[in-house]
Symmetry: C2
Subunit: 241 residues, 2 copies
């Protein structure tokens, strides 16, 4: 009997935004794995703390380096391949021995999740259950109380790593937008939003649903720094009876 | 003391995909409201059934007409205004009397949710808490086991009500896409996906996470009919170390 891999969406950060299914699947798991920076417990593990099984083997999958900037560099991305391959092999040993493995995923497992890198390496050999989660962006627009999309709005989700002129063009072509991966791209992104004529519409949300949550008009955020857990929201204005 | 309005995201359909917070807020509510077609219990009420408070007043907000097609007609959308205004007034009476009201929302409350029409009518007068939920599209791509977006993918969420040539152009300009609001637009949408050269990539999901769930390649779906709870997914192919 092979073990089953569970990709468990944990939601945007507030532990109470885990689903009932996430809690049930997690609590039944003999092995719980999670990504973390080297030497840290990691954000996913912290969200799940209240729901961890009483007895389980914990497997920390530690990223090879710890700097945020390097993670966005294509050269560094390539260097992640051996890490993901080794992490998949670690989980495969448990699964082959018949032990279910719950892999903790911030947000939703299949939406920009590290989970996917292990999933595509394991899904042909082992049964998998994916437990969807509340996305980080959903946590952010809820924290802002911002209705995002109405009627026939087109919604675009943009990585802040895109060139400024591409961001501006895509913002102009959308009814509503979410800009993710802000970090060191903040100054460029803010200028791109302004160039699209949308600065007064944009809302900046930092650490949505988490401790230290901040919501403010993007126009009011004038420093050049944004943490990893931040998004910029451009709400839609579609049909409103 | 005013009552508080809770917009409670119920997730994509599987009752177990409600969050812990949704269950807690719902179970504490003296008044539970939900949208429904006239004479039906409604989908939201059915999802929440397992978590309803033992004692509460239920308020069914019944849409004025019951045909699916008419809901997409702009003329009909305009006719919804008095319905939403009256529904907001109904909830306002409870809130003004100090009773909290939980309004059930399929998916996520602020992402194409009917909740928003009452929210914008009530938020200036009453305190509001929004509980984000797992989106319907997330339930669908999880049901399909389909990794949706990687690395720097641009993800576009498209209403199937758009003209075919607009859909095709937007699909060509995206790395990944979700097409919603399919229903009677199915034949047009399938042709638009094919015109974009993406038919072999596309996955059709019907009733994701619900009873009667179906997942199939869009290429294999040749009949012209799709229910309200269906989406078409175009997965991204971004950076994969």
């Amino acid at each position: 009997m092979l073990g089953r891999l569970y990709g468990i969406g944990l939601g945007p950060g507030d532990p109470e935004l885990m689903t009932l299914k996430a809690v049930r699947c997690l609590q039944a798991a003999p092995v719980v794995a999670y990504f973390a920076k080297r030497g840290r417990r990691g954000h996913a593990r912290a969200i799940a703390d209240h729901a961890m099984p009483a007895h389980c083997e914990e497997v920390a999958l530690e990223y090879p380096v710890t700097t945020e900037i390097a993670l966005e560099d294509p050269a560094y991305a390539a260097s992640l391949a051996p890490f993901y391959t080794e992490a998949a092999a670690t989980l495969a040993r448990h699964l082959a021995a018949g032990r279910d493995v719950a892999l903790l995923c911030e947000g939703d497992p299949l939406f920009f999740g590290s989970f996917m890198h292990l999933y595509i390496r394991l899904r042909d050999d082992f049964p998998v259950t994916i437990v969807p989660g509340v996305s980080g962006m959903s946590g952010c627009w809820s924290a802002a109380g911002l209705p995002m999309s109405w009627g026939d709005d087109v919604v675009t989700i943009l990585p802040g790593t895109l060139p400024a002129e591409v961001l501006t063009a895509k913002l102009r072509a959308s009814d509503a937008a979410v800009i993710m991966k802000i970090g060191t791209n903040f100054v460029k992104i803010r200028a791109a939003v302004e160039a699209a004529g949308l600065l007064t519409d944009a809302v900046y949300v930092e650490r949505g649903t988490m401790e230290g949550e901040r919501v403010m008009p993007l126009a009011d955020k004038r420093d050049g720094v944004a943490p990893y857990f931040s998004v910029i929201l451009l709400p839609g204005h579609g049909r409103r009876p």
